[in-house]
Symmetry: none
Subunit: 423 residues, 2 copies
Amino acid sequence: MMGAAREVTAECLCIGDELLIGQTINTNAAWMGQELGLSGIRTILTRVVGDDKEVILEALRTARADIVLITGGIGPTKDDITKRTLCAFFGTRLVRDAAAEARVVSLFTRMGRRADEVKEADLAQAFLPEGCLALPNELGTASGMWFERDGRVYVSMPGVPYEMQGIMRGSVLPKLREMFKPPTIVHKTINTAGMGETQLAEHLEAWENGLAREGIRLAYLPSPALVKLRLSTYAGADRAEAVERVERQVKFLHGLIPELIYGEGEQVLEEVIGTRLRELGQTLALAESCTGGYLSHLITSVPGSSAYYIGGVVSYANAVKMEELGIPSDMLELNGAVSGPVAERMAEGVRKALRSDWAVATTGVAGPDGGTAEKPVGTVWIAVAGPNGVTSSKGVFLGTRDLVIRRSAIAAMNMLRKQLPKP
Amino acid sequence: MMGAAREVTAECLCIGDELLIGQTINTNAAWMGQELGLSGIRTILTRVVGDDKEVILEALRTARADIVLITGGIGPTKDDITKRTLCAFFGTRLVRDAAAEARVVSLFTRMGRRADEVKEADLAQAFLPEGCLALPNELGTASGMWFERDGRVYVSMPGVPYEMQGIMRGSVLPKLREMFKPPTIVHKTINTAGMGETQLAEHLEAWENGLAREGIRLAYLPSPALVKLRLSTYAGADRAEAVERVERQVKFLHGLIPELIYGEGEQVLEEVIGTRLRELGQTLALAESCTGGYLSHLITSVPGSSAYYIGGVVSYANAVKMEELGIPSDMLELNGAVSGPVAERMAEGVRKALRSDWAVATTGVAGPDGGTAEKPVGTVWIAVAGPNGVTSSKGVFLGTRDLVIRRSAIAAMNMLRKQLPKP
């Protein structure tokens, strides 16, 4: 099953003094390695070099993989070192690319500038090495560049992560798959919330041990408060068989941890909740204390969320809790702001004030200060109010202030998800 | 002034399949690059390779820097690939190192295990290439290894970040400074908001050209809506002179772009605003539409922000704008929700409702849908209300929904910063 087709290899050449001096962490290499792997292409080397023509040339000359992905060193402040070096390497020169120029002008027009205001430095982005194929960049002025020589592909992209990712997804990965036909890898990622990686691994141990016999590998991909499980297998000529083999195990996994699974692949909790609310034709409001707006930010990060998200209140001062959310002052005194009764009243209060079907509230100690013996840093109460009443639940989340906020917001969304009626 | 002392160079060789497939982001290279730079050593290359003897050997053979820092590929689960490869490269063999063994045993004792329980796999960590200098690892069982050949230093360390960092700080950096006596580098980073990289570079061109005469290099470090400017210079024997030389240019820069500079080094806008509000003894409230809670999240990401941040309203539905913030419905109809008058009323409304000294409001089209010819995606109105009244300003921000939200929030904080009374 494995290694039937010829292996296709790639190397990454990341250009930028800022990477070498550690001002920027090289997330591009990790992202490219992951995406290449999912396309069945193996990354064998990553090199990071400075903005230095000779060093870049040397790296290009000694490349051995089928595919050389180059990031960075494009743009006016970089003095376009990559473009000039590519010209030297391929023995060509910079020429004006009309399509690239049109994209630069249109980008600036969208920003409200007149075409004749586009500056020379920006128009320089439309000059590309002769003979390269320009790859459109929807999110910036620097185009991607595709070269071929002696059966090897060289692709140059800007170093800005989202611009690089857009060009990779839009042009580079589809073209590479078409050209090299790497072995097909079938994979599926199942997303879970509500159990830590170690405990989950213990819980799934017996099942995991049986996967090897099915030719399936399992990877745990943890992030704060979430664990993704990726199942992957090589597909031979019969892709449908491999898909079916993976799906059988996914179905089995759903039986093992039905409550923990919230989605698949790139799906995030805020999207899953949004889709469900949209299907139900119901609305959501939020009352945040310790999450300080982060929960609202996650909900509104989903395009179209205004269809079901009415709005929220960030009640940082107790006065806001009392006035905007109708929390009685004796309740705050008796229980403290970080308590189940207050969380429940916050949820009920915002649900009533904004007339939503559902409401979620958070109140806790995000830290680093403010913890007590009884309510240490990381103590968070979450409440969900809905058509059938209100419930609350306490969590104690570990880590820095930022992590407590992130874990609380995810736990709050997961609590709402479990209460929303199933399809 | 520059290059007076001989430049000392380093390269990093990071070993691990998990880095190449993108399961782990290479934070080690960034950390080492930063620490080396602060010690006056220039990193000229980083290579990431898999757990493969031939590939590692090739990288060792082609190393050109004075210092080769190797991380990863040590330990039982890695089959000690790095150690075996180093033996092959230096033509030596593994021998038991008594001091290293004592450290392994003592580490296990501290973890509560008896000395006779230490496993064979763990004791294998005490076998090191003959002739290397073992560098103590206080936080793990794998020792660091120091080799010298032909005036070049090779150091191998475990890939676990905190173990590597402990060995670097405890042994490697002091030994390198003693051996190579690199020049001291003085640097300072100035943080700006409110002007894009290209425009800023044009604005500062004449000044930048003059920096070379002062022996100072300038680097532009852009991120969405922000540009950091790093000035750096080599210091000779007289460190104070170099500090003074950089400070003189920093002062000049303040004169050139007084409005754009909000801080230095690691300072962020939300911190700068928070410090200023705290000094003034004044408070802040927020009314967010298009930023959807992200602005509130940034403000509350600062520890202790409850001292000046009262709270906010996320008014996603127009009903919330009307009811919670007192926006007249005819104003919404006449101007549309994305307009200067509505932004100003939102800011005034939340300032009044939460009785704060200052208030910031955002309303815009974050996209990807909802844009019109008149108000395209990215159009955002920001208003700041304070003791002296309310003002508003329009921006058109480029990029994905996430970027429009981020850029809007930063522009909003920058607008508030400029209106807060100076110290």
